[in-house]
Symmetry: C2
Subunit: 184 residues, 2 copies
DNA sequence: CCATATAGTTAGATAATCTAATTATAGAGG
DNA sequence: CCTCTATAATTAGATTATCTAACTATATGG
């Protein structure tokens, strides 16, 4: 959600950076007694980081005129390509959104000729969604940037630190996916 | 972005969960030679986790009929309250969005009487934005849930692991904020 | 063969963003 | 003191990503 575009003049006025301290003071006054302060502090940090991470990714993909969500869908189609019949319903279930929302995404991608819809001959209520050669070409063009953007997120850390972080994030993510009922 | 609401029947058809392996295979084929595979893998995981973390937070705040973005703004006003003059321009700069977008957010919050606008007497082009007693009341009502939601994100980990994670996330976040030119 | 369930779409809404244009005010230079 | 330009905020109009509810077409079980 955070984005800063160049032109359009910004205010001279600017708010001083508070850092995390005022948040922690507020937490002391307002958190339930059953809430662990250290955990909440870490969770807050994780949320801020999550926000920033998604901003970086959208910023990196912006030059390709595609958002992370749409690219994610094309990647899904790429990875399942040829393996199973992909329907809008299945996509909706996987992405955790409504079928109507998938229709909108597919309309957008189809208009650019990156995906194709084909009526299933077995059950004519169903639509088979597939990525087109042009879609595959786009994905191929974007992927090197995508991977380097992923990698740049953690370039700050030493190899050993990355191994430690990976173990921790895997566990956190598994727990959260269980909670949300999603998963890739 | 991922949300699953109850009613509305979902497809029987469902895509098998692929896990991370096909992503890594694809990475081997499509990443630039200068991209470190382990880093990219970790970054991918960080992005997925970021997405899930934001979903959890919005899900936890949903019962209060406020989104994370709007709550974030109210929190900003709370923390700066009385300290400095807060203008729409300053908010736009801090949140990394345009002034026009801030106008829309403020309209929404003002309609609910959670913030107030007052023309500055020093420079009558400027608006002083402040949180109202009702706004403060809302924030107080939401904060216990907010902190417990933060804390729940990392409840999976042991205290020692949390300390390790905190050190790593602080460094990652500092680097990313520098890159995006944002910060709290 | 009909009732009901399912797949997908359409219509219409909301949220969060954007750009470009507009209005009002401030301030600087002649 | 007047005018020009810069700045603050808003408005108008657009896009993206979501939602719910209603609709259409098809399948299937009794």
């Amino acid at each position: 959600m955070v984005r800063k575009n160049s032109h359009d003049h910004l205010a001279d006025q600017s708010l001083p950076k508070l850092g995390v301290t005022p948040y922690l003071e507020l937490m002391d006054k307002t958190a339930s007694s059953s809430t662990d302060r250290h955990s909440a502090h870490l969770g807050l940090l994780l949320m801020w980081l999550g926000d920033n991470v998604l901003d970086v990714m959208d910023l990196e993909l912006a030059p390709f005129n595609i958002t992370e969500s749409k690219f994610d869908l094309l990647l899904l189609l790429t990875l399942h390509d040829g393996r199973e019949l992909i329907t809008p319903s299945a996509i909706a279930e996987r992405l955790g959104i409504r079928r109507a929302s998938v229709t909108a995404l597919l309309d957008w991608l189809e208009k650019r000729n990156w995906i194709a819809r084909e009526q299933s001959s077995l059950d004519r209520r169903m639509i088979h969604v597939s990525i087109t050669p042009e879609g595959r070409e786009l994905v191929e063009g974007v992927l090197p940037t995508f991977w380097s953007a992923c990698s740049s997120l953690v370039s700050e850390l030493e190899p050993e630190e990355r191994r430690v972080l990976e173990k921790l994030l895997l566990r956190l993510n598994a727990a959260i996916e269980r909670r949300l009922g999603v998963g890739r």
